[in-house]
Amino acid sequence: MTQPQALENKPGGERRRTLAVEPARLGDYLYVVPALIFVVLILLYPLGYNLYISLHEMSVGNFRTGTAPFVGLEMYSEVIADPAFRHAFLISLLFTGGSLLFQFTIGFALALFFNRPFPGQGLLRAALLLAWVLPLVVTGSLFRWMLNGDYGVVNFFLQGLGVLNKNVFWLSEPDTALIGTILTNIWVGIPFNMVLLLAGLQSISPTLYEAAKIDGANAWRRFLYITLPMMRPVMLIVIMLGFIYTFRVFDLIFVMTQGGPVNATTVLPIYVYDETFEFFHFGQGAAAATLILIIPFTLALVYLWLIRREEAA
């Protein structure tokens, strides 16, 4: 890769040929340096600093001065022993699992519906995405109103359909609050699942379906033996991404229930927020943050590995 220095300084036509194979010069790095500085100072440094905090007893008294005493892994053992942390972990899994199951199946059904062209298809498909771009705080306040016990429209519809026979106070009862937030999150996540799955469906070659049709396979068998196997890698990726993005949901739950009633909706991100910004337990908050990061981080690496394999195939 080492290019003779003299070549680079040759004028005119000579230079043209060398351009393509020229090794990166110092000047080229200037294009990335500004972005790099931001990423290092505001992303990587805080992440590293999070580790530092998690190993120190940092409090309201000493967090500005940087004189917090080193306590080793004490914060980690405190967090792991904390029943509230374990409970939050369980709630996170329930929230993520419940959301994913329905987001994915409904998103898949819609993707199948929108896969074949029909008049007005593009416009309708785009309209669905509106729910996804809405700020989560707006969605949260809107569903708080719709799930309201006395005057909420959800109770009205469910009673009209005969599903309920009395008002349910969705978000203020510990038994139903989690269901209420999951319901809202399903609504938010459907278009995202649909768009990604649709992209996958459209990459399946139509000749496969035609061949199967000629062989007499009906729609159900074509779905079972062509669509599903061909979609397997895309489905895996969508579920993986869905998990990563659902596991980190904070805004929506914070706005709807703030983790309540009685911690019924305290997912892990809410737990970290409470520890750090409500109780100012910076050490515990940071230790919990590190522990929480392990799951999505591992999944993200699996996801990258899947994508690479997908591209190689």
Binding site: A35, S141, Y151, T276
Partner: protein
């Protein structure tokens, strides 16, 4: 002939079914707007009236227009969102270009970090960021939120989405410009950037949407009410307007309107961006 007609009828019945699905799915958005146009008496009607008749604008005049806190919060959000948009484009365009074009040793590593950054739960970085920013006296300033929004939310997304646009620009074009005497920077500015304009629009739209809807950094890095973005203000009203749902929905609608407008105008850029940002690289 009848077969053809049957196919056509099927196609239109699909349109009908699709419209029905979208209408049911988007009902909550309608309900938000409908509630915001109702009087206080109407929102407590049992059964609820599905159409606000007659529509009233009182919730808007009460909760939005004559509410200095909301107006200030909207202005704050404009400052934060525009700041984030500009900073994102300024940082992301050259970086994405370099990662697409130049043979940098760390391209693969940089892309990996950016992708992981996108998946990071923002609340987890808010804690250490709060501590670091308070050591530098940055807490409680527009700059704190703009820096955090840009670096952690919009910049990774922007670079990942923009890079393929730069990859698709033929190298010959800038080489020709450079032979004609332009510097690399000149070629980048005058030849390459205009060609990736669709990418810049996508990224710019997303940067604005993300920053406008951002909540975590607005909540944690700003402590005084005067600087709060609309999302944080809206969250406060949820407690204050506890039973004035029409007022709450008026503020919610007001927060949503810029997003809906941008989405309507730039829809085709945004739809492409969702898949690109999530799956590319």
């Amino acid at each position: 002939m009848t077969a053809l007609r049957r196919v056509q009828r099927w196609r239109y019945s699909k349109t009908l079914l699709g419209t029905l699905i979208v209408a049911i799915y988007l009902f909550p958005v309608y309900w938000m707007a409908a509630t915001s146009l109702k009087s206080l008496r109407d929102i407590f009607a049992v059964p609820p009236s599905l159409v606000p008749l007659p529509p009233v604008l009182e919730p808007y005049s009460q909760a939005v227009i004559n509410n200095p806190l909301v107006i200030k919060a909207i202005l704050n959000s404009v400052v934060i969102s525009v700041g984030t948009l500009v900073l994102t484009l300024v940082l992301a365009a050259p970086a994405a270009y370099a990662l697409a074009r130049l043979r940098l040793r760390f391209t693969a590593l940089a892309l990996l970090i950016l992708l992981l950054a996108q998946m990071l739960p923002t609340i987890l970085i808010a804690g250490p960021l709060f501590v670091i920013f308070s050591q530098f006296g940055l807490v409680d300033s527009y700059a704190a939120v703009i820096l955090a929004d840009t670096t952690i939310i919009t910049l990774p997304f922007a670079i990942i989405v923009l890079r393929p646009f730069f990859l698709s620009v033929p190298k010959d074009l800038e080489e020709a410009a450079m032979i004609d005497g332009a510097s690399r920077l000149g070629a980048f500015w005058r030849v390459v950037l205009p060609l990736v304009r669709p990418g810049l629009v996508t990224v710019g739209a997303f940067a604005f949407l993300f920053a406008w809807g951002e909540f975590v950094f607005g909540l944690t890095l700003l402590t005084s009410e005067g600087l709060q973005p609309v999302t944080v203000a809206l969250n406060k009203f949820i407690g204050q307007f506890s039973t004035r749902w029409n007022n709450l929905m008026a503020v919610s609608t007001a927060v949503a309107i810029p997003i809906v407008l941008i989405f309507a105008v730039l829809q085709r850029y945004i739809v492409g961006g969702i898949t690109a940002g999530a799956t590319k690289e």
